[in-house]
């Protein structure tokens, strides 16, 4: 390998490492995670074995043998060393030794059975209250006991005298496992849930409206500022560019102040007899207009910059000539400026479609997908499912499956984007050999 190869690869290393760790691996892992049922309750790393009310419910739903579920749910009474030591402390050595002789290692199905057995002994406690108390010392349950691995779990079952029939072992350990497992349920759930279709519909609506607004308004701003003297033009451009660099949190707060029921619009309209109301969240339509405007005001500035520089590239002699020939301003825009903008408009459309498809922070801050879920777009839906669920259980696996759809579209669109570039000229070979 030549020295410049080594130097080149050395220069690339930091970028490659960072890209690998935070682009390539996340893309692959999004795919991996989407085939798991990871959530807050399963944890991310390994799991343990435990029978708890939730797994009991799942077993009942799955139709496991009722006797077995009963055994798991019931408290059992097993005579063991720990219990005997406690009896010795509370009721004296005599009873403990007698019990050890008669019943050591035995399991009783319920307390009544054990109490009856104790009653057969000579040194039994007198009152029935004491009998119950003595019996309770042997109470055992597999419920909510965590075992680190499968064999410990099966041992625990055996110690309690819970017997398994053929083929039940595998099923039981599957239900008792608290960690995540591989599954394709995320995708079947996705296809079955109406909220998925609502989110998809919202996304299409959101992109269509916002993109149209961005392009039309971006063209308008670029053309309008083009006809103004440069000082005025740069003032207006600054006004329209600021939303892009203002922190998102503040920008959305300004919109909320503008539209809130104690905010600007309500106060201005009050003297005209319009009752104050929350103009942003009042109805679904209001919420939609708000998020399109909030995103559109930011998005239009990108169009404004790109289109402005494209218009500047038009030879001014062309514009002068058209004026001499008597073209009106509209004709000038229609026949000279707009044709020049065809390429930048296409570029901006593809670029913004992709970023609108996946960006959700303005919607999250402004309407939080509401009212109801009327403005929940796909990206926000995935985000809320996996990372921002007030219900408590964050479904990482399902969220990853939702994100995988966007990742897939993203990859396809970036390939398209690559085709649009003049790749040959970019790829020109370096001129120094060494």
């Amino acid at each position: 390998m030549r020295r410049s190869h080594l130097l080149g690869l050395g220069f690339m290393t930091p970028a490659i490492l960072l890209t690998l760790a935070l682009f390539i691996i996340p893309v692959v892992l999004t795919g991996v995670f989407s085939f798991t049922n990871m959530s807050t309750s399963t944890g991310i790393t390994g799991g343990a074995y435990e029978i708890n009310p939730r797994s009991i419910r799942l077993m009942k739903d799955a139709g496991l043998r009722e006797g077995l579920i009963g055994d798991l749910e019931e408290n059992l009474y097993k005579i063991d060393a720990a219990g005997l030591a406690q009896v010795e402390k509370d009721f004296g050595k005599k009873l403990a030794e007698e019990m050890k002789g008669a019943y050591d290692g035995q399991t009783f199905k319920d307390r009544r059975e054990l109490v009856r057995a104790i009653k057969d002994l000579k040194s039994r406690p007198r009152s029935s209250r004491d009998l119950n108390k003595a019996a309770d010392l042997f109470q055992k349950s597999i419920l909510n006991v965590r075992y680190d691995d499968e064999s410990a779990f099966l041992n625990g079952l055996g110690n309690l005298g819970i017997t398994l029939q053929d083929g039940e072992q595998a099923e039981l350990t599957r239900f008792a496992y608290t960690g995540w497992v591989w599954t394709t349920e995320n995708f079947s759930n996705m296809a079955a849930m109406p909220s998925t279709y609502r989110a998809a519909f919202n996304t299409v609506l959101y992109i269509a409206f916002t993109l149209t607004f961005n392009i039309v308004f971006g063209v308008f701003l670029a053309v309008a500022t083009f006809y103004l003297p440069s000082a005025a033009a740069s003032t207006f451009r600054t006004i329209w560019f600021l939303p892009r660099i203002l922190p998102h949190v503040l920008y959305v707060i300004l919109w909320k102040w503008f539209t809130w029921d104690t905010g600007f619009l309500s106060q201005v309209l009050e003297p005209f007899g319009v009752a104050p109301r929350n103009w942003m969240m009042d109805t679904e339509i209001n919420a939609w207009v708000s998020i399109v405007l909030i995103n559109g005001f930011v998005g239009a500035s990108l169009g404004m910059i790109l289109f402005s520089s494209a218009i500047k590239a038009i030879p001014s002699s062309m514009l002068y000539a058209s004026e001499v020939d008597g073209a009106s301003r509209l004709q000038q825009v229609r026949y000279i400026i707009l044709p020049q903008l065809r390429w930048p408009i296409m570029f901006t459309s593809i670029y913004q479609t992709l970023s609108l498809l996946t960006s959700f922070d303005y919607i999250y801050l402004a309407t939080d997908g509401g009212p109801g879920s009327s403005t929940t777009v796909w990206a926000l839906y995935a985000f809320k499912t996996a990372l921002n669920n007030y219900g408590g259980n964050l479904q990482y696996g399902f969220g990853a499956a939702l994100a995988l759809v966007l990742v897939g579209i993203g990859i396809l669109a970036s390939v398209l984007y690559l085709r649009l570039f003049d790749f040959k000229s970019m790829n020109a070979a370096p001129r120094i050999e060494q």
């Binding site: 660099i245 102040w257 992709l354 120094i432």
Partner: protein, 275 residues
């Protein structure tokens, strides 16, 4: 343009359309320095009362804003440094050095440039949890830097492409190594590019909200955007004056930097950023 066309209608139309934004900006500044009375848009007398969060907690139980400010500086500064170092080297390699798989890397760069990175946030969240960088500034700095990287390399490559080959050939002819040539001759040539990219990535990180909110929400790594959102969320009544004052404090560096470096930045924003 020319005198043949009236500009007045354009002025009127643009002004009317810009009115909402101008009102927002104006009241952002006015409200923070005056006594605001509910139900009135006329500013009251001057006061600094709204700025009291600078010397006492904004809400009982809230941390001081200065810790969040320091974190934001570390976050934005750290991101800027990593982006600059990796882009300056990778951009040079892609522009000037021969190496295996060069065109593959270039194609990958363009694809990453367009790729919607925010979709990866769920798996990045899980990865940071697994490797133990969750809720740390380092973790969120690395993620933010990685997201800026394709744009950064792209822009730096553009700047390197415009440096004449003759400078480099002269250096090599005089016996300098390629590394020395890069460090002593080429880097000084692309200083404007480094400055613009540095400012750009600093501003992006300074305003970033979703990444720190998801990846580092804890008190130790809280940045200003997360801090501000926490104040907003903890309010039952929308105290817009408080929000605006915190917001103005938060955004002041951004606006100042923008106004100073306006021209330099336009190149990068025009070069196709997300949005």
């Amino acid at each position: 343009m020319t005198k043949n066309f009236k500009t007045l209608p354009v002025y009127i139309l643009l002004s009317v359309l810009s009115l909402p934004l101008v009102i927002m900006y104006a009241y952002l500044v006015i409200d923070t320095f005056t006594v605001t009375t509910p139900g009135s848009l006329v500013p009251g007398p001057f006061t600094l009362h709204n700025w009291r969060f600078l010397w006492e907690p904004a809400k009982p139980g809230q941390a001081s804003i200065w810790a969040a400010t320091l974190n934001t500086f570390l976050f934005a500064g750290g991101t800027m440094l990593i982006v600059l170092m990796t882009s300056a080297t990778a951009g040079y390699a892609l522009s000037r050095l021969r190496m295996p798989m060069r065109s593959f890397m270039l194609a990958g760069l363009i694809m990453l440039h367009a790729f919607p990175t925010v979709t990866l946030i769920i798996s990045v969240f899980l990865i940071l949890q697994i490797i133990g960088l969750y809720d740390t500034l380092i973790g969120v700095i690395l993620v933010r830097a990685a997201l800026d990287l394709p744009l950064g390399v792209w822009i730096m490559k553009g700047f390197y492409d415009n440096v004449p080959w003759e400078i480099e050939m002269a250096g090599v002819q005089d016996g300098a190594s390629r590394f020395t040539v890069w460090w002593r001759l080429i880097l000084p040539q692309i200083q404007p590019g480094l400055a613009a990219l540095g400012i750009f990535s600093f501003l992006q990180a300074w305003s970033e909200f979703i990444l720190p909110q998801v990846l580092a929400p804890g008190a130790n790594a809280q940045v200003l955007s997360v801090y501000m959102q926490a104040v907003v969320k903890s309010e039952t009544q929308m105290d817009f004056t408080l929000f605006k004052t915190i917001g103005l404090f938060y955004t002041l560096p951004v606006v100042v930097i923008y106004l100073i470096f306006n021209k330099k930045l336009m190149n990068i924003y025009g070069g196709g950023t997300k949005g």
